[in-house]
């Protein structure tokens, strides 16, 4: 670990650093999205600040509001040898571009019998907490993970955001890179410059022996906080940050579950047909008869994201709800 690891930065900065480093390293890395060039402010969340000034508006392009055109241009660019990083401002807007993502980016390698591949990254952000209401804060990672050919990554810390984004950019297949709006502003350890974090590898954030807590993205921090509370009660929780949802590092999850016998999966997406279901289904299969309790799942309320503050607060998987699921699982 270099000394830079002592410094604190936030995730918006970490992403910005990763983009700068990737563009410097490789001329084929290009960036596009709404308002992302410096004349437009370097992105609404400043993640792309300074890129166009440094690398030019040929490689760093602000776009019209046209998500199909954005992802399409990224797909075509990727087919022609570029490594495009497309910003879809908020995850709900990926709904406009699902055809390009699912019918094209995800499938072209296979459909062309391996003649082509689509090394593109779609960066997008989401998450409740800022009063944006029903159309700006959905977590849709399960859709993408359900789609063969796509990788899905969702970092929880600035350093992970940096290292995972670098890996996505230099991966030869399409990656959906999910950022979280509130996390943009939360400081964390700075990454080591140039260090990539492999895709498909979960991180054991904290070792423990009584229960395994699996999470990713912002909810991870609630889980860690819950685990802290438990520690005071003498309960030892192992906390796993999936980091990648697809490919899923199931080995790490299984090994932990085999050790603790109890698992809670928490994420901000809907519970039903969500990522937790896949993990629960696999764990019960692989560890049949050995788990001490059923795998518990915690997620958002079964509703669209509400506006009013008290509803929004209750909508997300709160620490209290996570703790309740943990206690039930420990019972």
């Amino acid at each position: 670990m270099s000394t830079t690891a002592q410094k604190k930065i936030n995730t918006a900065q970490a992403i910005n650093f990763a983009l700068h480093d990737a563009m410097e390293l490789d001329r084929s890395v290009v960036v596009l999205g709404e308002d992302i060039a410096d004349d437009q402010g370097g992105g609404v969340f400043k993640c792309t600040a300074g890129l166009s000034a440094k690398y030019g508006t040929g490689r760093v392009k602000s776009t019209p509001i046209a998500e199909q055109a954005i992802v399409g241009a990224a797909v075509g660019g990727a087919l022609a040898g570029l490594r495009p990083v497309a910003e879809i401002m908020l995850m709900n807007f990926t709904t406009v571009a699902m055809d390009q993502i699912v019918n094209h980016a995800a499938k072209l390698r296979f459909m062309t019998g391996g003649q082509t591949h689509v090394p593109l990254v779609i960066r997008t952000t989401t998450g409740a907490g800022f009063g944006t209401g029903g159309q700006h804060a959905d977590y849709l990672e399960a859709w993408f993970a359900h789609t063969a050919g796509l990788k899905v990554v969702a970092p929880a810390t600035p350093a992970d955001a940096y290292g995972l984004l670098l890996s996505c950019i230099f991966d030869d297949d399409p990656c959906i890179f999910i950022e979280n709006l509130p996390l943009y502003f939360q400081p964390g350890d700075a990454p080591v410059r140039g260090e990539r974090i492999p895709l498909g590898k979960a991180k054991v954030v904290q070792e423990g022996s009584d229960i395994t807590l699996v999470s990713y993205s912002r909810t991870l921090h609630e889980v860690v906080a819950a685990a802290k509370g438990l520690a005071k009660e003498g309960i030892s929780a192992e906390v796993i940050d999936l980091r990648s949802i697809a490919p899923l590092d199931f080995d790490t999850v299984r090994a932990s579950a085999a050790k603790t016998g109890r698992v809670v999966v928490a994420h901000e997406a809907q519970v039903d047909f969500g990522v937790g279901a896949e993990i629960a289904a696999r764990l019960h299969k692989d560890l049949f008869g050995t788990l001490k309790a059923p795998v518990a799942r915690v997620g958002a309320a079964r509703s669209p994201v509400p506006f009013s503050k008290p509803l929004e607060t209750a909508f997300v998987p709160t620490r209290e709800r996570i703790l309740a699921a943990i206690r039930e699982t420990l019972d």
């Binding site: 709404e34 308002d35 004349d39 437009q40 402010g41 609404v44 602000s62 776009t63 019209p64 509001i65 046209a66 998500e67 199909q68 709900n92 807007f93 406009v96 800022f130 009063g131 944006t132 209401g133 029903g134 159309q135 700006h136 309320a301 079964r302 509703s303 669209p304 509400p306 506006f307 009013s308 503050k309 008290p310 509803l311 209750a314 909508f315």
Partner: protein, 328 residues
């Protein structure tokens, strides 16, 4: 051009009443936000007041208006009742949407405001459906759908205008061209010389007007409404205007050349209309002051109502997801 038809004095005063109400409401909301009373991004329509004001006097209560996150001007113009309107912005249980929708999604069906979307372009295809229902039911309802210059570059715009043209729907597409889409200037996002030009590609009338001129705007709306009511199909109106307060509150408009902003603000449509009304002898200063005062009083009452209203109960999360009694 040669159209010299003038709105009546009453109509002009009504346009002014609405425009000034919008301006006052916007100022007041910003105060409320700064005071921490509204926890949400806020998209100010300051500078664009005359557009919906001049449209709405051509509409009936039963007509539909579809709008966006930047929509309080459209909603106020359509006659949304102030109390539940303000309460919704404050996220209260007494809001039009019980606090579930919020500032980006204010709707009020009883006022003809059935949908307000935060997704750029998405209102246009939905407006077609409202218009289709009116066409089928043989009512003379017209649907007005508002959107920005940036929205004219998204696929939904194209699909909607084309479908409306082919189906001859009673719908009016109003592009409030405030020259910027978030931080991106018109010229960087839009290939067309004017948005109105795009009407050619659908075989429908495309009208470019100064949206900050009440009379021009009123005429354009009058014609489009007449066309729609007569079953002659859709119209695309490009209403040129400007946005004074950035994309959302907190945006410092650094990407807008200072002169451009200064010029626009100097031509602020609401005071300009005020001066014009007096200058033309349509109203006296005190008459207009009375209108303004009445607005403020009504609005303050609504703010009081909103602030005194309870937040929705957390049990509301489970309600309105699907019909009562059905499984979510």
């Amino acid at each position: 051009m040669s159209d010299t038809h003038q709105p009546s004095k009453e109509t002009l005063l009504e346009i002014y009443r609405i425009a000034t109400l919008i301006k006052q409401a916007d100022d007041r909301f910003i105060e409320l936000i700064k005071a921490g009373q509204i926890a949400s991004p806020y998209y100010s329509p300051r500078g664009q007041e005359l557009i919906p004001a001049a449209i709405s006097v051509n509409l009936k209560p039963s007509d539909y208006v579809v709008t966006t996150y930047r929509g309080i001007h459209d909603q106020l113009a359509k006659g949304i009742p102030l109390k539940p309107f303000v309460a919704e912005l404050l996220g209260r249980a007494t809001g039009t949407c019980k606090g579930k929708g919020g500032p980006m999604h204010i709707t009020h069906v009883a006022s003809g405001l059935p949908v307000t979307t935060g997704i750029v372009g998405a209102g246009l295809p939905i407006a077609n459906g409202l218009a289709w229902a009116a066409q089928l039911n043989g009512t003379d309802q017209v649907t007005v759908v508002n959107f920005g210059d940036g929205a004219s570059n998204i696929g939904a715009f194209h699909e909607a205008l084309n479908l409306a043209a082919v189906w001859k729907l009673p719908v009016i597409f109003v592009c409030q061209n405030n020259r910027y889409a978030e931080h991106t200037h018109y010229s960087l996002g839009t290939g067309a010389a004017t948005i109105a030009d795009r009407a050619i590609g659908y075989g429908i009338p495309g009208v470019e007007v100064d949206g900050n001129d009440a009379v021009q705007m009123w005429r354009a709306a009058r014609d489009a409404v007449a066309r729609a009511r007569a079953g002659e199909g859709p119209t695309l109106i490009e209403a040129n205007t400007f946005r004074f307060r950035g994309h959302l509150l907190g945006d410092d408009s650094h990407y807008i050349p200072k002169e451009e902003m200064a010029e626009a603000v100097a031509a602020d449509p609401v005071p300009r209309m005020r001066a014009w009304l007096i200058g033309q002898g349509h109203a006296s200063d005190s008459q207009l002051a009375a209108i303004e005062a009445a607005n403020v009083a009504a609005f303050e009452e609504a703010v009081e109502f909103g602030l005194a209203s309870p937040y929705p109960d957390v049990s509301e999360l489970d309600k309105d997801v699907v019909a009562e009694g059905a499984h979510a």
